[in-house]
Symmetry: C2
Amino acid sequence: MTPPSTPALQALAERIQLFLDNHQLQEAIGLLQTEHPSDIADLLESFSEEDRVLLFRLLNQEDAAEVLDEISAEATLELIEAVPDSHIADLLEAMPADDAAALLGDLSEARADDILALVEPEEAAEIGRLLAFPEYTAGRLMNPDVVRLRKQWTVEHTLTFLRSLDPDTETLAYLYVVDRHDRLVGVLPLRTLVTHAPDTRVEEIMEPDVVSVSVLADQEEAARLVSQYDYFAIPVVDQEGHLAGMLTHDDVVDILEDEFTEDFQRMGGSQPLDDDYLVTPIGTVFQKRVGWLLILFMTEMLTGTVMRVFEHELSSVVALAFFIPLLIGTGGNSGSQTTSTIVRAIAMGEVRLKDGGRLVWHESRVGLMLGVVMALVGFIRALLWDTGMDLAITVALALFFIVLWANIIGSLLPVLAERLRVDPAVISGPVMSTLVDATGLVIYFTLARHIMNL
Amino acid sequence: MTPPSTPALQALAERIQLFLDNHQLQEAIGLLQTEHPSDIADLLESFSEEDRVLLFRLLNQEDAAEVLDEISAEATLELIEAVPDSHIADLLEAMPADDAAALLGDLSEARADDILALVEPEEAAEIGRLLAFPEYTAGRLMNPDVVRLRKQWTVEHTLTFLRSLDPDTETLAYLYVVDRHDRLVGVLPLRTLVTHAPDTRVEEIMEPDVVSVSVLADQEEAARLVSQYDYFAIPVVDQEGHLAGMLTHDDVVDILEDEFTEDFQRMGGSQPLDDDYLVTPIGTVFQKRVGWLLILFMTEMLTGTVMRVFEHELSSVVALAFFIPLLIGTGGNSGSQTTSTIVRAIAMGEVRLKDGGRLVWHESRVGLMLGVVMALVGFIRALLWDTGMDLAITVALALFFIVLWANIIGSLLPVLAERLRVDPAVISGPVMSTLVDATGLVIYFTLARHIMNL
């Protein structure tokens, strides 16, 4: 149970709850059904599981189908558990095939097969074809219901043809022109169609150079193309160039958000979760994290080795140890400021491989400036702790070099990762700070040895 | 100079370069102009600055306008510097008003005014109106050229009206219905228009409940609405409900990408940069980072204070110090695994405030599992370093509690930030690890004191 996101919805939720408490089901569902499906989903989440399932089963089919697409992954799975398979099958028929495939893809294979067996054969075949494509490909996500035109048609004929279609068709923004072998030969944006005279022929106004993606293309590649060329959508073709479907703008927004979530999680040093956080079992969360944690632990052991090498210095001046977390913390912080900026700049295409040299030069200068400031502050702090002028100078110089070094490493690493075709987000967060920790200690103790004559 | 992104464009760039070297300008520009404006932008970036400016000035106006919108921020500023103001003014006239406003918004105010003075008065007034809205509002970003219908029109009349418009109009996907005071009373998706019979009246098929945003609404709020309801676009209205413009899907994708970038940079402990990385002067980068770095330095000084409190333990067993970076590093890593996952889940709306308790419970169990594994590995490592059984037990127990603690803190902090209406991304990265550093040391030394009888 989560409260609705706006005060207006909150008030509505309370009124519906009152009807439910008085067993006035008809009134409750009537009130609910006046809202946009996205808001219905929001409202449903605010009720107890029992009420949620009850209201959901009473929704009209069209709304219920959209709600299932909009509601949180957790609630979706819960509703599917609580509702008979035949009812789910009806809802799948009311959904675009791509949304139906996405829903079934989240269930166990056995469960998906059971439900699919109850769906109308034609619709089931279409959903099955989508599910046959590997996850995260354009084929898996595409909407196969695209509008096909022939190039000899006139604008008037096309308009008459469009009037025979379901007004809810999602995919009308782009009309695709195919030859008699169903091969894609052109695209006609709907806005171009409606701004031309009725007797204009499709081939005169269609765009013959169509950018398309293969059914097996990675979803991220497809999303990048759409966002790069500022399209609403992109057609998907099979290996022989036959039109197979299209990716629409809402798919693209979803893909971009997913990819960003992955980057974010990788940056935090975890493998990306495949599902929404709250529906992912803790065993899976554990598995996604333990690997990296161990690898980082192993590399972090380098710091122990460094300290053992400098054991003599450390035991002669125990105060040296006081500054260790401060120094490696500051190094880690300035390094991650650098990497997070640069990883994102690479992802956005603002920075390319060739810019590597410039990047490092840019960051070295920022590092110089930050290093001077941190050295000054560290110097004053060390003096105030009364641990002696020599140690204060050591700490100040160490801070200067560590910050500068962290900025250089922090800009080199993502570029290096990109060149080695590793996702820069993986390298950038914890790996960077672990690396800076060990090298920072070497800088610190080496300075201490010379300045303090240890 | 950056190389084009695909081998095909690379080959084309080489052919164009050959023409340029032989002073065959006409051939070079002919070859360039066959490409999509986004690819022309890509190609232009691969030439020297001199060639780039030359080719850009020879492009036809329509392509040049689109290239200016597509090319990197750095190259845009460079081209604007190198091209006469009157030429830029012509290009602005060929652009949608929102893109023109965005371009001028990146220039100095004096420069923008000079150029605007050369733009046709009507177009200049429209651009000026957009620039009058604060940055990052819907009003600043909207496209004011929207299609206005009246509800008594028929489908046929509307189609005739549309044919009188420029086929390049970006904003045809949604037609807005206004009353005689230009107040928004309905929306008619273009696809609904074309799937209905010619004699249908607009008011029969329009959607009267229109979700709109105010001109002063934050851009992120507008983008979230569009992505939540799966719209292509959203209308923007002024304080009196008059239709002022619309935000289109490409604006929304741009906004979402900008917001991701901000979150990413905040997570790395830096204030977001307003512009593309490579065009941001290093002084600005320095300013955006130094504040956080200092604040974190101050909090990180806590660790020094903790160590001074335990100076006695530290000087009796110097080997205790060997494990300090390892312990706080592991705590920081497991904490940031947690926060990065949860910050993102909050941003995506997967998790809400009410889920706080469940979140912490979820993460505590993951922390228990990870803690056991890390304790085992740490125990073995400490034994192999031959620093004694007592220290090995201390390190193992410390690792267990620190990992558990980091997971709890890592899940509490973003929820707390959200409740206090601070951006969770700000809190999550460096703040979390700094906090875990100091508390981790207290755990470690307290365990050492008791287990090793110091």
